[in-house]
Structure formats: structure tokens, C-alpha cells
Amino acid sequence: MKKNNINVEDISDPSIQMAVIEPENLMPLPYPYDTPDAQPPLKKLTDDQKERYESDLDGFLALKLPKPETKEEEDRLVGQFLEGLKKLLSRENNWTFLMPLMMSLEYCAKCQTCNDACPVYIASGKEEIYRPTYRAEVLRRIVNKYLKRGGRTFAKFTGNEIDLNWKTVARLAELSYRCTLCRRCAQTCPIGVDNGLINHELRKIFSQEMGIAAEELHEKGSVLQLKTGSSTGMNKPAFMDIIEFLEEEIEEKTGKKIKIPIDKKGADILLIHNAGEFLSWPENPSAFAIIFEEAGINWTLSSEIAGYDAVNYGVWYDDAQLARVAVQHAKIAKNLGVKKIVVGECGHAHKALIVVADRVLNGDLNIPRESCLPILEDIVVNEKIKLDPQKNNFPVTLHDPCNIVRLMGIVEPQRKILRKIAPLFREMSPHGVQNYCCGGGGGFAIMPSLNIPDWRSAVSGRMKFKQILDAFQDEIDPNIRKMICAPCSNCKGAIRDLLDYYDAWEKTGIAYTGLVDLIVNAMVDIDGPFIEWPDEM
């Protein structure tokens, strides 16, 4: 049963469905999606799935938490959660984020200012449980009531009324996977409280203490990456085959004979791509190879385990996995003797390796690391390759990946490039550090299970889709080809799924690509176009 006017305490109530997401209640979209029949339906769970998994949060499943069979099992899981929470607030177990967490838990004034900054909350039609403050408040109350002295006695007066039962824990777990970790909320907080961080820490309790994480992030993500070499499952021989394929494709498409350097000792740069690029968008690593060779850069790729996959899913849910992948990347760079690691077009890999893991990689593992964007800016703006912007003579807008822009402050290099190579470039609104997430942040881009892809396209990516439509509203005619430039692999995947979900190519003529793809497309000494539009594939 769906209850109206959901309160914080309701998270413990086993008799209710906390939210029901229906297309007609979502934030309206602009033309041509401004009518009810233009809204794609949302996939519902089957009765069997509802029977097996904890699904009464909002009817979507990111975690597929099985229902405990006995009360004893429920109590054991609740006990584990509480134990994890204690560790989360302890110095030795959580030095990684203790200070930010403690301050964010302690000083929230509950003014709700952050709510309007959250694309999930707004796009959902202001669903109560998606408020950035909702899950933070649940956690705060559990801490105050169950872990602080006198917490239970004064719970009502201090506003810490909550029951910690299995429903609370199960729903909190699922709810921690309804935030894209874009951290727009923290930007608008007058105190500096970071509800995105609280969500991140919540995921850590489940992963690090209870062994509960989204399968695509853990078993099929960071674990697989450290075991086989890539979260895609691609092993070294497969990688080498793909490199050979790329070299052939480059020659066929551009006439350029390029030998992609692999495991080159003493190269200046170790370039690490999101391995998803090799499989889904091989033109992206090809474009990097063309640009770097043309600019005379001494670079290499790696064929070592995780060396050809920059992803680091640990940044979304688990500090140990974050550290392990980062250490592996650094070890490879150290063994190759490169001067620096450059991260390709992958936002979360940027943030994980360059910034978050900065305080994990000490001593000889502290290899300098930087984004690919400043180097590309240097190549393009200083005309180290010859470019003809007229080859990109179609409307282009830029998506700002949260991890690269808001969370790293890399804002202008990509714009300087686009101003140079795309004469019809226009900004989304808002953009730069105030951008909206693609909807795939926090791991959603790589979570294809059950009905989460529908939730991503209809809810978490809705604001981005609105932004895209608004940016091209003056030329929305599907006969006018338009391009979204998304310099991030996961954003690109989320945008690809958004465009598919809304049938956007057919209805609006909007396609997507990466930044290097547009650069190569503008290169003078390449005859044909490098990018391919959906109707040419």
C-alpha cells in the first residue's frame, strides 16, 4: 500500500510501499516530449521478483536484496548494520572520510535548501524519499538514537524518532543507490553539509561490513577488474586483439598507419582508458592514438591487469576496492617508468585516480597523474595538429561530467577545444560546475539489472535530457543533425541509453560522441568524416 505524506519514521514501517514512480508524476519535459503519450512506460517488477527481493522502497531494484527467512536472520543483519555504523564513526576504520562525515551528520540545519539542487528529487516530481536530506536524516537519527548516550531517552525531544529494524536497513541499502553522488546538494548548502557524502558512506557500511553492494560494482566490477584485468571481463589476449583491430580500423578510416604503443618502457605518458571504450566506442581510443601520434607525444598503453581499464568503481561504494585499483594503476606506471599517468575520457576514473586516491598513493607509488583534457587543449589550442572547424559544422553542446568538472575544477580546457573546433557550439544551462549529472553517476551507468535502466532514464537522467532538449530547442527538427559532446565514458553510456529510451535520434536528430572524436573529425589531413551518425552505422 502506498502511503501519502511519507515521513522519516516511515522507513521502518513494513506495511507500506514508500514510493510509486509513475511517468505522469515526473518533471515535465520540453517539446517533443511534452505530452503524456510521449513518456515511455516504466518497467515493473514481476510478482516473483517482488516475492524474492526487498522492493517496497520504490519498486526498483539496484541491489536485489533477498528477503530474510527468519526473524533471527533479520536481527543478525540489523546487528551487522549497527556494527558497521560504529566502524564508520571510528578513527582507524574510517579515517578516509571520518571528518567530512562527522561534520555533515552533526551540523545540518535541516533547512532543505539542498533539495531543489538535486536532479533526482526534482525530476521525480519531488518524491519525498529522494530528498537529499531524507536518507541522511534516517542515518543521523540512527546514530543519535542508537549510538549516543541517552539517545533513546531523549529521541522524541531531539527529533531522533526512528525504529531500527530490518525494513529500515533494507530500504536504506536500496535508497543509497538512488543518489548519483553528483554533489550538487553540497554546493547549495549554506553550511557546507554534504548529503552526497553521507550517501557514499552509507554504501560503505553495506559493502565493507555486510558484503552488500550492487553486483555490477563489486563482483562484476572491481573484483573482476582486479582478477581478469577489466570490469568488462576483457583479458590481456582480448585486449591485444582489440588493439590490432583498432590499428586496422584507423588505417581503413583515415589512411594513417599507426602502431599503438603497448607496455613501452620509459614512455612519457601512460594513457589509461575506460575499457568500455574499447568495446562500445573503439573510435575513442583510436582518436586518442591518432591525436597523440600526430602531436608527437611519447606515450603508451598498458596490457597489465587493470592497466588497460581506468575504471575504479570503488570510488562509489568501497574504500578498500578504491585503494586496490588505484594501487594497481600506480604499480603499472612505476614498472613502466613513465613520467606520468594520463586518464582518458572517463570522469569517475579521473576523480578516483587523480584526486581521491591522492592520499593512498604514497612514496614510489605517488606517480604524477593528470587529466587528458589539458594535454588535448594544449594540442588543439596551440595548433600542434591541423584542424578545420568547418568539418564540425553542426550544432554541438557539451555535457560536463560531474567528476571532472564540479569535483575537480577542470572546466575550461574542453570548452577552449570546442570553441576552436565546433563553430556551432552552444552551452547547456546551467553548465560548468553547476551542471546536472547525466543520470549515470554513482554507478548507475553500468547497472543494467532489472528495471534500474528505466529508473535511470526516466528519473536520474531526466534533468540532463531536459537540458539537452533545451540546448537544441531552436533546432529541434530531426532533420538537423545535432551532437552532444560527452568527454566521459559512463556519461556517454548514460546519454546513449537516454537517447534510446526516448527514441531521440528519430524524434529530434540528437546524437552523442566524445571530445577526441570531434577533434579527429576536424583534422585537415583526414579525408572522410571520423564520427558516424546513427543513420550511417
Binding site: E92, M99, Y107, K156, N362, G409, I410, E412
Partner: protein, 306 residues
């Protein structure tokens, strides 16, 4: 007769508890271990604060001298703390109430500071008719009255808003109303002192007595009530979430604006070495509880469980 009154003793105790309370909070923050970087742009000390840019926009950023614009940081803090600019831009309805409350309280602090300064000067021998004393007294009176009124307006407004705005009701506890009512009684009692003493001379004389450790003399009921309420509030404040008023500095400085890179041989490096040697006891199988974080990070390829 006792040389000082119980009200004066309360004031001294208040001062000590308030200072110790605030200091312990600050010391606690400084005592916490270094954390992983979690900065959020725009960061005011970065040279491209205008659009939210950072030093990571440069090729080989680690080879270049770190440029931090301290002035911009101070300017940001000054405007933010004084005018709550982020709230102004993101939640105007709340700002109309929150700003008067906070600004009013800041004026009350300045009022107290100016009266304290006048009391110090008097204790040092200046005459009550000295131009400096008259000046301080005049400014303090204006600021104090305006501060009391603004803070009271803010309190009443916020009480009404918390009780009536749907998005605030479910998140407002009895203690939130209690805090606002508490502040209201403090500033209202201050206002009543002014109604009976239009230049706050009694407050100044009371402060002089505190400085000189001399008997304050018989105090009227209005001033006594104000001193008691003010003292209780000052004792209470550091131990509540209302301390965000000053603790928010650390949320910015130590978390959101903390983008100090870990350079070889730098101060960050040694602090990181310390925390990497902490032992972790997380229970999930892949965590391999009992090892140091350094060991945990190294258990990568070969030791991962299926």
C-alpha cells in the same frame, strides 16, 4: 557581604564553559586524521574561482608553483558568514528569515564586544564622559537594539516557517523550536533591558565589575534575567548543532575547499603514511580484517575472494 554576586559567578562560569566548549570542538576537528580528498568546486582560493577552475586544468600541474588566493578565501568567508550568500541564492524564502536571525546575533556579539571594550577602557581609568567611551556606547546601543530586533524577527519567522512549511515540518523536532524560542527569550530580554536603560549603561557597568572582579551592586530584574538567559544560552550553544555558526568554517576549509595535493616530501605525505598504518576491522570477506590500510590496499590481484 560577598565581594561578588552569584550572577557574576555565573558569568565567569559561562565564559569558561563557552570557551572550553568551542575550543574542544575545534581541537577535536584538528585531532581528526587526514581524510581522502573530497573537494567541491568552485573553490575560492583557486585562481579561476570565477568559473570554478582549479590547478588541475594545467599540464604538469605538479611542476608549477601552487597559487592560492588567500584574499579571495577571506572575502568568500566574510560575505558568506555575514550575509549567508549561498542561502540567498538557493533558498530566498528561508534567507528572509535566516539572515535577520544570524545578522542580528552578529550585531549582538559586536554590541557586547563594544560594551566590553568600553568597560576595559573605564577600568583602565578613562572617564565615563570621555569621547571614546561615548562613541563606543553610542555605536553599541544602535547595534544592540537593531541586533535584538533583527534576531527576534528572524526567530519568530523561523518558528512560523518550521511549523507551516510542509518540507520543514517532518524534519523539525521539539528541540528545533526550543532553540529558536531560547534565542528569542535572550534577545527579547536584551531588548527589555534597553527599554529601561536606553544606553545600556547598566550592562557596561556590569561588564566593568566582571573585569575588575568587584561587586556589581544590586542589579535590576530585567538585567538579571537577561544575564541569566544569555549565560545559559552561551553555555548551551557550543554543545548543539547551532554551533554550525562557527563550525561551518571547518566544513569549507577542511573538506570542501581542501584540495592540497600529496606531493613527494610534502606535509601531506607524512600524514598519509600515518593513516595507512591504521588497522581496519571491517567484517566483509573482501576486507581481510585485521590488516593495516596499506596491507588492505595491496591485497589486490591475488588475494581477492570470489
Amino acid at each position: 557581604m560577598c565581594s561578588i554576586s552569584w550572577v557574576q559567578i555565573l558569568s565567569y562560569v559561562t565564559f569558561v564553559i563557552c570557551v572550553v566548549g568551542i575550543a574542544s570542538k575545534v581541537i577535536k576537528i584538528y585531532g581528526l586524521p587526514i581524510h581522502l580528498r573530497w573537494e567541491l568546486y568552485p573553490i575560492p582560493h583557486e585562481k579561476d574561482f570565477r568559473y570554478g577552475g582549479s590547478y588541475l586544468e594545467e599540464v604538469d600541474w605538479w611542476k608549477k608553483p601552487r597559487k592560492k588566493n588567500f584574499l579571495n578565501f577571506v572575502k568568500f568567508l566574510f560575505i558568506e558568514i555575514l550575509f549567508v550568500r549561498v542561502l540567498y541564492h538557493n533558498n530566498r524564502k528561508m534567507w528572509y528569515l535566516s539572515f535577520p536571525l544570524h545578522f542580528g546575533l552578529y550585531l549582538v556579539i559586536v554590541w557586547l564586544g563594544l560594551l566590553f571594550l568600553a568597560a576595559v577602557l573605564l577600568a583602565l581609568g578613562l572617564s565615563t564622559e570621555h569621547v571614546l567611551i561615548l562613541f563606543l556606547q553610542g555605536i553599541a546601543t544602535v547595534l544592540g537594539v537593531v541586533g535584538f530586533i533583527l534576531a527576534a524577527v528572524g526567530c519568530v519567522g523561523l518558528i512560523i516557517r518550521r511549523a507551516t512549511a510542509k518540507q520543514l515540518q517532518g524534519y523539525s523536532a521539539p528541540i528545533d523550536y526550543f532553540n529558536l524560542v531560547f534565542i528569542l527569550t535572550v534577545v527579547a530580554s536584551g531588548f527589555f533591558v534597553w527599554l529601561g536603560d536606553s544606553r545600556f549603561l547598566t550592562i557596561r557597568e556590569y561588564l566593568t565589575s566582571l573585569i575588575t572582579f568587584s561587586y556589581a551592586g544590586p542589579l535590576g530584574s530585567a538585567i538579571t534575567l537577561h544575564i541569566i538567559l544569555f549565560s545559559l544560552f552561551a553555555i548551551y550553544l557550543p554543545f548543539t548543532h547551532m554551533s554550525h555558526a562557527f563550525m561551518k568554517f571547518f566544513l569549507w576549509d577542511k573538506v570542501l575547499f581542501e584540495d592540497e595535493p600529496n606531493l613527494k616530501g610534502g606535509s601531506v605525505e607524512s600524514r598519509v603514511t600515518t593513516v595507512l598504518n591504521y588497522k581496519q576491522t571491517w567484517s566483509a570477506p573482501h576486507m581481510h580484517a585485521g590488516g593495516t590500510w596499506s596491507e588492505t590496499a595491496s591485497k589486490g590481484v591475488d588475494n581477492e575472494e570470489k
